[in-house]
């Protein structure tokens, strides 16, 4: 298919700018590589932290044994009533299973575990209440767990609810902190990328001042003058993003062995994840966006000031 001449010319101009600027980066290989390395590391660090947090979340979600809540029932309930309550608890959203422990069973278990048969035999009556042990769904958030516990407490025949959730809250808080920290680092290092690209482009503009003047002199539009600098910024971002992706994959490769060993000590089959396709594309996209932004800022600030003499 033959495109209209104006569209073809547009493509040619962009292709020319893209290729010329890439060639320009190759001509100044040493300085281009250093700039790319700075951008790559600045992108790899926050991406690495985010990946670490993701992996930690995955690792702790895979852990065997989800949190449990123990509901102590009123001692006056008979066995049938206790069963009804257990069924009622099991029907709650977020509870995967319940175990009903009668006072007799609890006493037998306690006698066996504690070795105080004689002491316990002295008691006139069984002091233990009936208990329903509920398995909470794994990966439940702190707020959801709270809601569930209030729902349990609201059941009339339930005297008291104990839940093993302090560590859950701590883990949750830690994850939130790590997430927020990674976000902050990403913000600062993203700003670094913008500044590095912006400064590189500023120097580039300064070095090519006479070329810009002559181009404007013979009828180059602002868009034409701007184009090579924006493409240069885009290339820096793309190359830096690629470098960051490579660094991340290498790090995951290096950490797979030791982390699997650690996980196996905890009885887990956890394997660390790499950035994956979507992660890599996000990294490249962020690189391009930040590179373009840096170039755009530099071009906006410095190009307008150059007018032909």
């Amino acid at each position: 298919m033959k495109l209209p001449a104006s569209i073809q010319a547009w493509f040619e101009q962009h292709a020319r700018a893209a290729l010329n600027t890439l060639g320009g980066l190759r001509l100044r290989l040493a300085s281009s590589l250093m700039t790319t390395a700075v951008i790559g590391i600045a992108l790899a660090l926050p991406a690495g932290f985010l990946l670490l947090v993701d992996n930690l979340e995955a690792a702790t979600a895979n852990r065997e044994g989800s949190p449990q809540a123990s509901a102590f029932l009123q001692a006056t309930l008979n066995v049938d009533q206790q069963r009804d309550i257990a069924a009622q608890i099991k029907a709650l959203e977020g509870i995967t299973d319940v175990e009903h422990i009668t006072p007799e069973a609890a006493l037998a278990e306690f006698q066996r575990a504690s070795g105080m048969q004689e002491t316990l035999a002295l008691l006139e009556r069984n002091p233990l209440p009936p208990v329903v042990v509920a398995q909470l769904r794994s990966g439940l958030s702190g707020a959801d767990a709270d809601a569930l516990i209030s729902a349990l407490s609201a059941i009339g025949a339930v005297d008291e609810v104990r839940v093993d959730r302090v560590w859950l809250e701590r883990l949750d808080a830690l994850m939130q902190l790590a997430n927020r920290g990674s976000g902050l680092i990403a913000l600062l290092l993203g700003l670094t990328v913008v500044l590095v690209v912006g400064n590189t482009i500023r120097l580039d503009i300064e070095n090519r001042r006479s070329e810009i003047e002559i181009t404007k002199l013979i009828g180059g539009t602002d868009a034409f003058v701007r184009r090579p600098f924006l493409y240069t910024g885009m290339w820096y971002g793309l190359l830096g993003g690629s470098l960051a992706a490579i660094l991340l994959m290498l790090s995951v490769l290096l950490l797979t062995g030791p982390s699997s060993h650690l996980a196996s000590l905890y009885g887990s089959a956890f394997q660390p994840m790499g950035p994956g396709l979507s992660g890599t594309l996000t990294l490249l996209g962020s690189g391009v966006a930040l590179g373009l932004l840096g170039a755009g800022v530099a071009v906006g600030r410095h190009l307008a000031a150059i007018e032909p003499r």
Binding site: A5, A9, E211, E213, I218, G219
Partner: protein, 216 residues
């Protein structure tokens, strides 16, 4: 084609380059602008592609009032005015070919079209064999001819030259002027600022003498 109506130009600091200049150049004319340095020749030429803006008065180019020209349209005005400088204003890190090709690349011409037109323009100024050379390896006269090829490669309706023979010996100056006459013969409005009175006298085109920023 080019009409100045009581145009004045006052620079910051009070220096007045033009004082109520009235001037009209017809389409297809060849005109020499003469006058002592400081008479306003350069300022006059630089107003045509809007390298300077008048402080007062109006400039019409090809029926367009430059006062009313939007900033975004200025590049398109400049594409229609081929300008030649005494100091050539070439890009020294590009080949002769690339220098001459620049206006076509800016205008978005196709690759094949660029090659054809650049070679035609270089052939016209007699530098076809130097297309791969770097401008710094060329003599002053050759660099001037590269500048001319760059100015005419888009076939603009107007050519302006500011002291194009300023640094050249008489024989080379004559060659350059002959080139301008050839462009003029195919209908290009040609305006040349020069103080080479002997040569101008011999060529016998219209002369406009500027003195103190107005036509003497």
């Amino acid at each position: 084609m080019i009409r100045f109506d009581s145009v004045s130009k006052r620079y910051p600091g009070g220096n007045e380059a033009l004082r109520g200049l009235d001037l009209h150049i017809e389409r297809g004319e060849m005109v020499f602008i003469t006058g002592a340095s400081g008479a306003g020749k350069s300022t006059f030429l630089r107003m045509i592609p809007l390298l300077e803006r008048p402080s007062q008065g109006s400039v019409m180019i090809d029926g367009v009032n430059l006062l009313r020209l939007r900033r975004s349209r200025v590049p398109f005005l400049r594409r229609r005015v081929g300008m030649i400088f005494q100091d050539h204003r070439l890009l020294h890190d590009r080949s002769v070919f690339d220098n001459v090709a620049l206006p076509l690349v800016i205008a978005g011409r196709s690759h094949a079209d660029v090659g054809r037109r650049v070679r035609a323009a270089l052939d016209k100024v007699g530098l076809l064999h130097k297309e791969k050379a770097s401008p710094v390896t060329l003599s002053g006269g050759e660099q001037q001819r590269v500048g001319i090829a760059r100015a005419v490669v888009t076939r603009p309706p107007v050519i302006l030259a500011d002291e194009p023979t300023g640094n050249l010996d008489p024989a080379l100056s004559e060659e350059i002027m002959a080139l301008f006459e050839q462009f003029n013969q195919v209908g290009v409005t040609t305006v040349i600022a020069s103080h080479d009175h002997a040569l101008i006298e011999r060529l016998g085109h219209r002369r406009i003498h500027l003195q103190d920023g107005r036509v003497a």
